[in-house]
């Protein structure tokens, strides 16, 4: 395990984010927590520098660094850009949010330090190639998330959400660690490549099944797949809305990145024709296909009954995990490309929808669907963009969400998983109903109050910034699809 300075060149964006975290903490300390603009600015500058570094040096080949624990390849690059983008947008979104920055709040500066740490952890999650790094990056993200969930310390709801999150999070990571220890015991290796080498020889049997199921449980918790989803609505509702926006996008996507790399490097092999095959008899894709079906169905069914917009979005985010798992279980490069494409699009539209919640929270007291009555006439622009995000989440053209779902269904169809694809499209129809409940409130119900709601300028700009790609990627999406395809080439081709 040698560290060479040349590694640093590959680890640049991560190193910058790590440094940003330290500088944010330091800045907050130096200004005695009074000038929040210092950590906020540090985070923005750090993220921007990291983004520039990542864009300047896109990896041309798969490169293992830090004692083979971290792999920097196209896959890592894809998620780097995504996480940095998410961090940048959510930082801006939080800055104008009353829930984070209001006068009665405390330690606002620390929020940005935590955001930096979260971004760092998520980037490493997508890059880790060793179960030690897997466990560490996952915990870095989890522990930061626990603190963020309880960030509104004075609010009992926030604390309660944080407690539920930390308690069940600790249980799930213990379960996953146990599974990882079994992998180690079965193969004698901690690196994904080593695990694959160890497994390709013989039969893992029962122990391997248990190991895979336990690891699935841990990751399933992170991405909130049924039956490990129960914390999601509570945490999204209790935590401050900007934090919910982060949770719905960042850690969930990082969980997917981690899962893809772990399962596809450690448990899947390329045969000579370039098709992917299982290493062992353990049919984990079937287990995940059933989880996928259960996740989308339960997520949608529960969402129908919600009256709170935030809980509705929480359940909808669960349902979307189900759709994405559909692309994960088909064991094909097309399926994974569909997942990557969808993750990107999902991040945009989910943050967009939560951003509307954040923006309105500053002004409107309630978060019930009825509180959005008449928004279409009071704030036509905001309502129109919310509607755009909603139809994108439903998966209707001409939005990016439709293209994402189209690729997922196509991947399932190509693999012959028609039952899952049929379930998926039927779920889309169900989801239309509850998304349109919000649209109905916004447009069909007359407003109780008249006049503008008056939203923060920054939120309006951000909304437009998110709405434009939602629409544009629905009409012309080649670049993103090619980027996703390309990102996977090193991951799947290298093994």
């Amino acid at each position: 395990m040698n560290f060479t300075w040349s590694d640093a060149a590959y680890f640049g964006p991560e190193a910058v984010m790590g440094l940003t975290f330290l500088l944010c903490v330091l800045g907050d300390l130096v200004t005695r927590g009074r000038r929040h603009v210092v950590p906020f600015g540090t985070l923005l500058v750090g993220t921007a520098i990291s983004l520039v570094l990542a864009l300047l040096h896109p990896p041309v080949s798969s490169h293992a660094i830090l004692g083979q624990m971290v792999v920097v390849d196209g896959f890592a690059h894809f998620f780097r850009l995504l996480f940095l983008g998410i961090t940048f947008v959510t930082a801006l979104l939080s800055w104008s949010s009353r829930e984070i920055m209001g006068r009665d709040r405390e330690h606002q500066g620390e929020f940005y330090a935590l955001a930096a740490m979260l971004c760092f952890g998520m980037m490493v999650m997508a890059e880790s190639a060793d179960i030690v790094m897997l466990a560490l990056s996952l915990e870095a993200v989890s522990i930061t998330s626990y603190i963020l969930a309880g960030f509104a310390r004075f609010s009992f709801r926030s604390s309660e959400a944080a407690l539920k999150y930390v308690l069940w999070g600790a249980v799930s990571s213990a379960v996953m660690l146990y599974g990882l220890s079994l992998f180690y015991g079965l193969t004698g290796a901690t690196s994904y490549e080593g695990i694959r080498a160890g497994l390709s020889g013989g039969q893992g049997g029962m122990a391997l099944l248990v190991a895979i199921l336990f690891v699935m449980a841990g990751i399933g918790y992170k991405i909130s797949a049924v039956p490990f989803h129960f914390w999601t609505p509570d945490v999204y509702e209790g935590a401050p809305a900007p934090v919910a926006a982060i949770f719905a996008s960042g850690p969930k996507i990082a969980g997917f990145a981690l899962m893809i790399r772990f399962f596809y490097v450690a448990l899947v092999q390329d045969d000579s024709q370039g098709t992917l095959a299982l290493l062992d008899d353990v049919q984990w894709p079937w287990v995940l296909a059933i989880i996928s079906a259960a996740t989308m169905t339960l997520g949608n069914m529960a969402a129908i009954r919600q009256n709170s917009v935030r809980r509705l979005l929480a359940y909808s985010s669960i349902a979307h995990v189900g759709y994405m798992l559909m692309g994960f279980v088909v064991l094909s490069a097309n399926g994974l490309a569909a997942v990557l494409f969808y993750l990107f699009v999902y991040a945009i539209m989910t943050i967009g929808a939560f951003l509307v919640v954040v923006a309105l929270n500053n002004r409107v007291s309630g978060e019930e669907i009825d509180d959005y009555a008449g928004l279409g006439f009071r704030e036509p622009l905001v309502a129109a963009m919310m509607f755009l995000f909603l139809i994108s989440l439903t998966g209707l053209p001409p939005t990016a969400g439709f293209i994402g779902k189209f690729y997922l269904f196509a991947a399932a169809g190509e693999a012959g998983l028609w039952w899952l694809a049929i379930l998926g499209v039927l779920n889309s129809v169900v989801s239309l109903y509850y998304y349109m409940r919000i649209a109905r409130a916004m447009y069909f119900t007359p407003p109780e109050l008249s006049g503008r709601v008056g939203l923060a300028q920054a939120h309006l700009i951000l909304l437009v910034v998110l709405a434009v790609p939602t629409l544009v990627l629905g009409v012309f999406w080649s670049p993103l699809k090619e980027f996703a395809d390309q990102s996977l080439r090193m991951l799947l081709g290298g093994g």
Partner: protein, 505 residues
């Protein structure tokens, strides 16, 4: 087999499709206070496609079944998606109908007071969606237009509709989406199992899908072909709507504002039958032959059930809505027999029903604007107080019941002539629909316009000039095509003969 006409490339259809979209953008940028500005802008942008439609009518070559006036551009190369539009005899009539009814409906929407900006912008967006469906020859493009059209329709019903608008709007949306997602899956299945002969890759090109030689091995299994046919058929059947998928229709038609009802009945319903003719039949002709008898029975059920429901209505608009169900049954019956008379009659009926039902809805809208209700029993003797209105409405009603000399008769007669050769019993049962149709039409005519004058409506103003402008062009068309149908029949004939030639048995 459908082929591209040599040298037939043209941007005419692209202009017809996207000019309204441009109009929608322009209107949404206008100041919201000036309602007349919205109206006139919308009229301007909907007249352009109408003018282009006239040009289309002139330049369309009636002697070939090839695709004309096409445009083919790569859209997303990695997934073989193209921007591919063009018309043949089947689609050209629908394009003309859409352009005509949209322009008429903008005028018919003059009375909309609430949020005119949004209304007209959405209306033009709807026109783009409908046009796009009829001209697309790439399945993916077709699907995108098919879905895009749902969004404005949802709002047009939900915001500007009647008392139960919310229910009607979401019901329409859910039903149609449920159908179209089935279509999406079939589209994906076809994509992966049809080869592009020029590149060897997969394709969404409908012309390639229609060429049976391009079908892959998986697609040759009859069971799979039947399942795929059913998937597509249900998607289209919901739109037609074919009983038992029709329950969204009365709600949507009744709650929608007048102009939107016209578009719903006049154009949207045709999309279902058009989709069957454009996609189901040529791509899976053997499955079409296999399902022919059930289709004919469904047609008969639609005719009889629709007519019986219409008889039971006391609300004029609902009556007209159910009459649409009945009339679409004729279309379905004609399509189920693969002979010249039947299928020509079906497409002719699609066009004629579009114009006739448009008149009916416009006329119901006129009286509703004045009386603010549509109860058939609430009127009486309007013939004396509103003579001009009575004349026009009666014309529309007679056309609807299929009076010879008016356009409705020609299509129905051809359908029966064609169907009688093939399915005697079904046809004889269906003819009862004509009698039922006469019953509900005459019954309504009598109660609304004849008898003693209801004093409440003695002073109701007669139909005004703007309303006449909307309805007279259509009325002229109904009379003209009733006396002399060849202009339409000549357009569709060659393409339809080509279509039925591919269907085995």
């Amino acid at each position: 087999m459908l082929e591209l006409a040599d040298g037939g490339s043209s941007s005419l259809l692209t202009w017809m499709t996207f000019f309204p979209l441009l109009g929608a953008v322009v209107i949404s940028l206008l100041p919201s206070r000036n309602q007349n500005l919205h109206r006139w802008t919308a009229l301007g942008f909907s007249l352009v496609p109408l003018v282009l439609a006239v040009k289309l009518f002139m330049v369309f070559d009636r002697s070939t079944s090839d695709v004309q006036l096409w445009t083919q551009v790569d859209w997303i190369r990695t997934f073989h998606i193209q921007y591919f539009v063009g018309v043949d005899g089947i689609s050209v009539t629908m394009v003309l109908l859409t352009a005509l009814l949209c322009a008429v409906c903008v005028v018919a929407s003059w009375g909309i007071q609430r949020a005119t900006k949004g209304y007209f912008a959405l209306f033009l967006l709807l026109e783009t969606g409908m046009m796009g469906v009829f001209v697309s020859l790439d399945f993916f493009l077709f699907y995108v237009f098919w879905e895009v059209m749902l969004l404005p329709m949802y709002f047009l019903i939900g915001v500007w509709g009647g008392p139960r608008k919310e229910y009607a709007a979401i019901k329409f949306f859910l039903y149609t989406l449920a159908g179209s997602v089935l279509m999406l899956l079939v589209m994906i299945a076809l994509y992966f199992n049809v080869n592009d002969p020029s590149t060897g890759g997969h394709t969404f090109n409908m012309l390639h899908m229609m060429a049976q030689a391009n079908h892959g091995e998986w697609l040759l299994d009859p069971t799979i072909r039947h399942i795929l046919f059913l998937g597509l058929f249900i998607g289209f059947a919901i739109k037609v709507p074919i009983v038992p998928f029709h329950t969204w229709l009365p709600d949507a038609h009744v709650e929608a504002p007048t102009a939107v009802s016209v578009i719903l009945a006049g154009v949207l319903l045709k999309m279902g039958t058009y989709g069957i003719l454009r996609i189901c039949y040529p791509i899976l002709p053997d499955a079409a032959a296999w399902f022919a008898y059930p289709l004919a029975i469904l047609g008969a059920v639609n005719i009889i059930y629709g007519a019986m429901c219409a008889m039971a209505q006391t609300d004029m608009k609902k009556l007209v809505a159910y009459s649409s169900v009945s009339h679409m049954g004729y279309v379905l019956l004609g399509m189920a027999v693969f002979n010249e008379a039947g299928i020509t009659g079906a497409v002719l009926q699609m066009f004629n029903h579009g114009t006739i039902t448009a008149m009916l809805f416009l006329m119901v809208g006129v009286i509703y604007d004045r009386a603010h209700h549509r109860e058939i029993n609430g009127f009486g003797g309007l013939g004396t107080s509103m003579p001009k209105y009575t004349t026009v409405f009666s014309l529309a009603l007679f056309a609807a019941l299929g009076l010879p000399g008016l356009s409705g008769f020609v299509g129905e007669a051809l359908v029966f002539v064609g169907a009688f050769e093939v399915y005697r019993v079904v046809t004889i049962v269906s003819v009862l629909g004509i009698i039922l149709g006469a019953a509900y039409v005459l019954w309504m005519l009598q109660r609304v316009f004849l008898g003693p004058l209801n004093e409440k409506y003695a002073d109701t103003p007669d139909i005004n000039r703007r309303e006449l402008i909307t309805v007279l062009p259509i009325a002229a068309l109904v009379i003209f095509l009733g006396v002399f149908p060849p202009p339409i029949i000549n357009m569709i004939k060659v393409s339809l003969l080509n279509l039925i030639a591919q269907i085995p048995g």
